[in-house]
Chain length 318, copies 2
């Protein structure tokens, strides 16, 4: 009858997405306070920072302090982002993070040059080397991701066929290292996705790799975030990245306006109203979203934190 | 294969929605400048103001001046909102508007008391009397609308069965006056709709009245606006109200946050990317949205006006 999942996992990217994008400066303590608030919302994974070049991303200059400063909450995995080996070694060195290996692809070479300073061919070599490094460090490698999977501000539309080729290449890198990818996350880094494109991409991937779990990392830059997530839910997607209050954006995506991920509490609200279990406390998320606004010092795009959930309204009316 | 329409009509409600909701004051000239900018975007219908009690809605105190001040543009119908006979007589008296009769229902009695100061029973009497007045004034009565069709902040969820009963009552009022309703607009006045609820309501109405054209008036207060519109498109809905830049909200809906209609240019963008014809110029709409921000003096929720359309990006890259 329907592919809509009964349970959805939402992975929080707000601290990393937000603090890489906000002009700041934002006090390290305030960043940590947001991570700590998020820890008490039912989230099971929070990406707290990225280990990138602080000259290119000044908001991440205090990544080590954030990664060592938060209070661990049971049942929550605390992760980070890195784009190269140097970043990974820093993430490993802090010793407080729940690291996992991942193969990181990009569907637009023009974007990869801007974001990672390398093209397709070099990336394949780097990813192969990094998988070896993850395995040597004792990490599992079960996850892959693809940036700009729907389109690119510097290159245009990305055909689904190219995405499938790149997934295949990912599987080759994995197989050559004796690992198997279980979850593949497709990122709409520059907001080229529409609900129809989500359906087509997810449909094509599921058709070819029926056992692969598809995840979506959606940006709301052109206002399509929740509609795209809904299309994903209809196609059976059960893992989403999201960002509290809609924080963030990629500094190299060529956008100046609000460019954050789909908003965590708005997506959690949609799931709740569809009867999909997320394990999330919507009121605690909304409080964390309001804290995020305080931390960055300006209004953020999230809606449910401002309008209130329907569950809260129903309780008042009961 | 699909119910998605090939053509969609978007009716602009921004001036009326916005100027009833904004704290203001906003100069009459600025309101007129926005209507004039909207006239050149390909829109075929613009609701320019409402004729309501200026003591309750101060932003509409200059409704007559707005309604007589804009420059008519060929092919555009200029409409207004009223909630009672006095309002209609004022709209008629200005002599510049393209008026049409409509039967106005509400699915929540608690909301109707707040918004129209009457309950269900009295509304039926009022609507019957107003249809007679429209006909006497030489107007067609082919349209009906229902406020709070998905839920109400003061009453809770609205069952689809109640909506169907109220549509039936509407048809009785019409038949008793020898007119037939061709278009029925369902309003999510207080943002209780989700894509699933849109599907269920539209599906039930189409099942019972297959010839009736369904229109949607969606608010984005809880961030579901575009997702709800997408669900409507999937169900064959081809008429939407929308609001430039996401302006507006109902002053009696019990919301303080941004509570505007689904955003005109974002919805037009979704249609364009789905290959649905709207006749709208996305760049002209985005310019009008930026003007709307100037007019109200603060940022508005629309996304595409800030991020740019994909068509524009594709042209740059070509």
């Amino acid at each position: 009858m329907t592919d809509v999942p009964t349970q959805v996992r939402i992975n929080e990217e707000g601290p990393r997405e937000g603090f890489q994008f906000e002009r700041g400066p934002i006090a390290t303590d305030a960043k940590i306070a947001l991570v700590d608030a998020l820890s008490k919302t039912g989230l099971r994974q929070i990406q707290v920072c990225s280990f990138v070049n602080p000259e290119r991303v000044p908001g991440m200059a205090d990544a080590d302090a954030v990664a060592t400063g938060f209070a661990r909450h049971e049942g929550v995995a605390y992760t980070a982002l890195w784009l190269n080996e140097r970043g990974f070694e820093r993430a490993l060195a802090v010793g407080t993070l729940d690291l996992a290996g991942s193969i990181s692809m990009g569907a637009s070479e023009a974007f990869m040059w801007r974001n990672q300073n390398r093209g397709f061919a070099e990336n394949t070599v780097v990813q192969d080397r990094m998988v070896k490094r993850y395995l040597a460090a004792g990490l599992k490698v079960e996850r892959a991701s693809m940036m700009a999977a729907f389109g690119c501000n510097f290159e245009g539309d990305v055909p689904v066929a190219r995405v499938l080729d790149l997934v295949e290449e990912t599987m080759r890198i994995a197989a050559a290292n004796g690992v198997a990818i279980k979850v593949y996350s497709f990122a709409d880094t520059m907001a080229w996705a529409t609900p129809d494109r989500v359906r087509r991409l997810v449909g094509a991937v599921r058709e070819r790799w029926p056992e692969l779990q598809v995840a979506l990392h959606l940006h709301d830059t052109r206002g399509m975030g929740i509609a795209n997530a809904y299309a994903g839910l209809e196609m059976g997607v059960a893992i989403f990245d999201a960002s509290i209050a809609g924080l963030g954006g990629c500094p190299f995506a060529g956008h100046t306006a609000a460019a954050g991920n789909v908003c965590t509490e708005d997506l959690a609200f949609l799931c709740a109203e569809m009867g999909i279990e997320t394990g999330l406390d919507l009121e605690a998320l909304s409080a964390a979203a309001r804290l995020a606004e305080e931390v960055v010092g300006h209004p953020l795009p999230g809606s449910v934190m401002k309008a209130g959930s329907l569950a809260a309204r129903r309780r008042e009316l009961a």
